[in-house]
Amino acid sequence: MADLKTSLLGIPLNSPVLGASGTAGYGPEYEPFVDYTRVGGICGKGLTLHGQFGNEGERLYETPAGLMNSIGLQNPGVEHFIAVELPKMLALKQRYGIAVIANLGGHDEDEYVEGARLLDASGVDIIELNISCPNVRAGGMAYGVRAEAAGTVTAMVRRVCQKPLMVKLSPQAENIPDMCRAVEAAGADAISLVNTFQGCAIDVYKRRPVFDNVFAGLSGPAIRPIALRMVWQAAGAVRIPVVGLGGIATGRDALEFIMAGAAAVQVGAASFADPRAMQTVAEELEAWLDRLGFQTVDEARGAARG
């Protein structure tokens, strides 16, 4: 059996397969379905400094091979997370050895910095800085489009953050390689991409958009080839690790991202379709590595880049 064990920013991982933020809850939700000893880690639901209800109106809309969502970063706030949710994640870490990754969004630079300061003093392994949520007005996405703005907020957070810092990018970025280089230069330890693609759906009966915000985030297998192209670009643009995500539903999908240069991958919406997905992706990846003669996942990384 090929060895799935790897590491990310010095954190040992059971496998390169992580649960993506916003699709894995805080971990316990999937415990009845997933053998977490096969999973590398969980990125918790996106946090903001202060808790918020999220968006009104319809929040979900199924599309061909995908799902649009407009949750709007519903979350209990950073302090509640640290007091109530983080202990549950740390208990899973204790039991199964998964890495605990907190995802942090923000409405402005002060919120990002204060949130990061609190998380930096907590038990999380990695902070994933979300500059890419498409569903909150000025909620991160403002920083996710222009490389300069992304670099500015990354640098501000970097100054208060000792923990490994991974910046999660939006596919709405004007230019992916420029964006990657900007956050690397600003002190990011790793990059994850992609967040959801902005899409739109119309309710023809009501003659108006399905979502109150008009636009919503598209995820699922429908976006996978575009996500993979962006991960390929990112891995070619920076020296820091790139974590790939976007529509991964099978082990073969995961291997494509790894061969494109991804240090690890995240399974997102696939967990909604099949609650076992994080485990099945890892196990299928293992079988693919065996079939192709790789002894370790690390050997396969970047294999497609020649």
Binding site: G22, T23, G25, E62, G66, P221, S271, F272, R276
Partner: protein, 256 residues
């Protein structure tokens, strides 16, 4: 929800019947294994990219030691696929999910007074297993059913319900009008309801006026059914709640 008792499983379809042109009753192998009335399963009868991306949340309609039944309305591509299932075909189920009707609490609240169960349209689906369990507990409920037009599935309630009262919008059967016209909550120790939101609000309002406790089972679009996607969040008196995980059964006063 006892999260440890829910699981992912494959089970064989034992049979499928049409109770109306768009209403399907599906029988699946395997007993309810501790499922409560009002709980639901995520059903999936397709793999990979060959069907809808998401599974479909369908409430437990009825169960005995070796089978579970699901009653659903064909609404779109997913329920269409579920409706096409035939005996012997495989189905994947994740569940039971949600909180369901907690029977000991219901019985304790009712005390020595009778229980009313109120259903509207396809909202009657989870109420058969509820009536069966209440009957088994020695508390056969009065059953109030409302439909737009021709009713369906009512025969199955007869063995478990005390009195059955029927209303239809069209007058096709029973009282012509709303099911809430027939309900007098003051006579009951608790009212348990599932159906369209306007009906639930009307039931809740009557119960509030009569001082009768009322539980309502809600429906919302869901992606995961597990409390992870936060797509089915509602505002309640106790803050944001996930219909899939914290519900679908709520005290009426908490949500309306």
């Amino acid at each position: 929800m006892n999260v440890q008792s829910c699981k992912w499983e494959q089970a064989a379809v034992l049979g499928s019947e049409r109770l109306a042109p768009d209403i399907v009753r599906l029988t699946v192998a395997g007993g309810p294994a501790g499922a409560l009335p009002g709980q639901f399963y995520m059903l999936r009868a397709w793999q990979g990219g060959e069907g809808p991306f998401l599974s479909r949340p369908i409430s437990l309609h009825d169960a005995d030691a070796g089978t579970r039944r699901f009653l659903f309305q064909i609404k779109g591509a997913g329920t269409q696929r579920l409706a096409a299932l035939e005996a012997g075909w495989p189905l994947t189920l994740t569940g039971p999910l949600g909180n369901g009707f907690a029977l000991p609490d219901v019985l304790q609240t009712a005390g020595d007074r009778p229980v009313a169960v109120v259903g509207g349209g396809i909202g009657t689906a989870p109420l058969l297993y509820l009536c069966r369990r209440l009957h088994a507990a020695g508390k056969a409920p009065d059953f109030f059913a409302g439909f737009r037009d021709e009713p369906y599935g009512l025969d199955a309630f007869a063995p478990f319900a005390g009195r059955t009262a029927l209303a239809t919008d069209s007058g096709a059967a029973g009282h012509r009008g709303l099911v809430t016209d027939l309900l007098e909550p003051a006579a009951y120790g608790i009212v348990l309801a599932c159906g369209p939101e306007p009906m639930l609000r009307a039931v809740a309002a009557k119960c509030k006026a009569a001082g009768t406790p009322c539980l309502v089972s809600l429906e919302k679009r869901m992606a995961c059914g597990l409390g992870a996607c936060l797509g089915c969040t509602i505002r309640t008196a106790n803050g944001p709640r996930a219909v899939c995980k914290d519900g679908p059964v709520f005290f009426a006063g908490e949500v309306f």
